[in-house]
């Protein structure tokens, strides 16, 4: 079985259609309207389109769970047990195996929850960003990018969806999200713990890993999708992040990155609009 499988070789049936990050980021509509793309502004029940936004977000969670399972499974396989920089401790593989078990359960929960919400499997496009972060050849960077940045984003999304389920009185949504959220906190904690343990004598490697995490965090805060601002669709779940091993400073940094990403997206749009106007004139 090959090691380091590329994202385009992930197995999917005909229901799934993939959209790449470049397409998403280069969409000329970005930054022109409310934040959050199809999801729109903050997910609150008073928005007329809130149920559809919740369905789209839940489908995104579902495909994220599939990729998290695939990513943790690859991490069990891609690295040998040992003390070298390309190796991992056996206990790390055990943690990844446990994560596979959790993610497989989350996939099943997500399928049933999507059905409950009136969504078909593959109804929305799939972006493979999570698995792409899980392709980093350095196990420390891989765990930092996936378990701290993306599973951290999952904490924020699950908490937002759980609150939405609570407010609209949807007990199935609320409990499903709550159960998955509990596991995500554990996954992020695994990432935080392994980052510290594997880089205890290698500050350069830790620095590189945290830089990779920043890049991933910024990418997925793009356009204000996730942040501390009132109109961000997904809010930073500060308490759960602290439980998962993030310091207050680290959470503040993610909040700043989100604001920065949003400002940059708006500047890009303004530039594109000015360019188009100049061309037309």
């Amino acid at each position: 079985m090959k090691k380091n499988m590329p994202p385009d070789e992930l197995a999917r049936d005909g229901r799934f259609v993939r959209v790449n990050m470049v397409e998403r980021i280069s969409d000329p509509r970005n930054g022109r309207g409310p934040t959050g793309g199809r999801v729109g502004a903050r997910l609150t029940p008073d928005r007329p389109g809130a149920p559809d936004a919740a369905r789209a977000l839940m489908h995104g969670i579902f495909v994220g769970e599939i990729q998290a399972l695939e990513g943790a499974g690859r991490t069990c396989w891609d690295f040998e047990v040992g003390a070298g920089s390309d190796d991992v401790p056996f206990q790390l593989k055990l943690d990844m195996a446990r994560q596979c078990w959790d993610e497989a359960r989350h996939c099943e929960i997500s399928v049933k929850l999507s059905e409950w919400m009136g969504t078909e499997i593959g109804e929305f496009a799939e972006s493979t960003f999570l698995f792409e972060a899980a392709c980093n050849p350095d196990p420390v960077l891989r765990l930092t990018g996936v378990n701290r940045a993306l599973e951290g984003l999952a904490i924020d999304v699950f908490n937002t969806m759980k609150e939405f389920g609570n407010v609209v009185g949807d007990p199935v949504l609320e409990f499903c999200e709550d159960w998955m959220l509990a596991d995500e906190v554990t996954h992020v904690k695994m990432g935080s713990d392994w980052l510290r343990r594997l880089t205890v004598d290698d500050p350069e490697r830790r620095k590189r890993a945290l830089e990779f995490q920043r890049i991933v965090d910024k990418l997925f805060s793009g356009g204000g999708f996730r942040g501390d601002d009132e109109d961000s669709p997904v809010h930073l779940a500060r308490r759960f992040r602290e439980m998962a091993g993030f310091t207050v400073d680290e959470i503040d940094e993610i909040s700043d990155l989100a604001r920065q990403a949003r400002a940059e997206a708006r500047a890009r749009t303004a530039g594109a609009t000015a360019g188009a106007a100049a061309e037309a004139g």
């Binding site: 959209v19 969409d27 149920p51 009136g118």
Partner: protein, 186 residues
Amino acid sequence: MTKVVVIPEAFTLVHFESGRIQDLAAKVAGLVGLPADVEIRIEVEEQSPLGRVRVESIDPITIAVQGGAFEHAKKPRQLSDDSVVDVLGRVFHRIKDRLDPDFGKPPPDAELTLQQATAWDAYCVGRSDRLGLHPSKARRLYHFRNRHGFTDVADATFERLWNAEHLTWADIEAACAATASARQPA
């Protein structure tokens, strides 16, 4: 055949064709039974990936559509025939009701409560389903539960609205009252 005007004529941010929207709209208007002599104006806000649709006026018939409502869910910026038909089937039934003096006098779209809008939608989309426009009933049921409660009364009310023909605005209001009382804590 109903005359349909689509604004803008040419799209620059999304790959929509106004001619295709016109054809689909005329076909759905005929199926729903809108009068052939009316003109329908569809104003598409192409910069928005969101999916809100509103009837701005019925004389002349003007519909404001956020671009995401017509977009393919799996292919960003591409027009989806299914989405256009789904959206217009619902909205044209609403317009047909507004044009029918026997239906009663509902408030303008902008003044509808979320409960009223969702109950009316269930009635409209159920009729679209029977015309063979293939809307998603499961999606509409989830919308309805979000607005009317996750209760047996809400589910039964939804079924009644979905399967109904020839309702009036008073029936829609009565449906809202029934689910509201079921949402009250005992």
